[in-house]
Symmetry: C2
Subunit: 271 residues, 2 copies
């Protein structure tokens, strides 16, 4: 299978660097093809701005730069910057996408956010499909990246308890929801549960061996692990165009967790 | 009072540009002093990397670049890049910080994330105070920015219902929690409820007048609005060092909302 690894860490000889090499080696040893975008090594341009576009694409009818309009035109005209088109090609080539990063201020490093801001063009990752009173585009379970799998691999300095259900940082699953649901599921990818390493400052040789063992198992089961059961936008669970859950779906439930359908024990793939 | 406005939008003649000018004018008309960092106009460097540091600060004892160690040393040695030191000075000068941005992929634009990644140095925004079995630093309600107020002003293309309690995107308050709690409250700021504009593509003159009226009222009440009642980390609500809410605090409650203490009606400042 084809696997695309997206990483962002400023020090190659870091835990993230080691995990990146481990992921590549493990997947290649299993016969998979791997492409890597190491955003720091690539000196990836982080800011989406009008410099990304040809003058004819950049400005709308009123002479204003609108990122959606400009990126949609450039995609359609084949005039996107080479770095953006190359990353889109990697996404389209991939059967699975692994996104590896250190959690900085409860999100991804800026350079990786800028990868999504720029690569996720209008007509590619959003603005896909019919937008009407009956449809609100192909997104959240549909879209150009449907059928692919995605998994976050995240490192944090804090303890697991700090990211637990009642931990001070908020639960890790909720902190990752905007990325899982809003950035990976949005253009259609199936999102696997993340692999999270906590307390990175205390990783010694024994702990690192445990991490490789656990992460290795996650890589070995990339194709059989049950994805998070997010609800498809156009599958009947949501009113359109308000995009609110219908009353009989997860009745009374609010917040991120309402967008995951209840999976019974027997539905869960055995590890 | 002193107000620092942080903004990031690639088109000055956008809704965000108009709101930026409105905020500055309104505050100055009231006699406040305003400083602005317009990150796109400044061509702000988004990626935190070793180029930010002098060679002596950049590398740790093993010759590796560790962003925490490097930023802490540079702060201590007075060798930070000028752009970072200038932004820290604006934060220290400010009585209130307003952060204005368009919601891109459920978060801030990359260049603004990079402002936090780089300006929030170790010893400035984190790594402050005693770290021991009894203390886990001065953060979440304490820290160098304690006593200041902060407010997000956020624009979205989607409808308010999409960001409601059962809307497909997830509730806006939960999407903003990592920024509110994790980036503003973390170094000590009191966080006011956000002002959010939805459906930016449909803002006509009438709607814009309504937005200016509402936002103007929020600016006029910047000093009297009740902040979100996040729980101080070191106020007794959390076990230390696990940083889990004690059993008798919000018993049985999990997730982001457990970190907001219940405020009775009579505690809420009248608008």
């Amino acid at each position: 299978m084809n696997i695309f690894l997206l990483t962002a860490h400023p020090e190659p000889r870091s835990l993230n660097g080691s995990l990146s090499r481990f992921i590549i080696d493990r997947l290649q040893a299993q016969g998979h093809d791997v492409q890597v975008s190491d955003l720091y090594a690539m000196k990836w341009k982080a800011s989406l701005d009008r410099d990304d576009f040809q003058p004819d694409d950049a400005l709308d009818a009123e002479g204003l730069f609108n990122a959606s309009t400009a990126s949609g035109r450039a995609l359609q005209h084949g005039t996107q910057p080479g770095d953006i088109a190359a990353e889109q090609a990697k996404l389209q080539w991939a059967d699975a996408v692994i996104v590896l990063f250190p959690l900085w201020w409860y999100s991804m490093p800026a350079v990786m956010k800028g990868w999504f801001d720029r690569v996720y063009a209008y007509g590619f990752a959003y603005g896909v499909g019919e937008h009407s009173d009956h449809r609100w585009g192909e997104r959240f379970g549909e879209g150009l990246l449907a059928g692919k799998r995605a998994m976050l691999v995240v490192t944090t300095g804090g303890w697991a308890s700090h990211y637990g259900p009642r931990g001070v940082n908020g639960p890790i699953d909720d902190l990752l929801f905007p990325m899982h649901h809003g950035m990976l599921y949005y253009p259609g990818m199936s999102v696997l549960p993340p692999y999270v390493v906590h307390r990175t400052g205390k990783v010694d040789a024994q702990k690192y061996a445990q991490i490789e063992n656990e992460l290795g198992q996650r890589l070995d089961t990339l194709w059989t692990t049950q994805p998070i059961a997010y609800r498809p936008q156009n599958g009947g669970d949501y009113e359109i165009p308000s995009l609110v859950l219908r009353d009989h779906i997860a009745p009374g439930q609010i917040g991120f967790s309402a967008h995951v359908s209840k999976v019974t024990e027997t539905d869960i793939a055995k590890p």
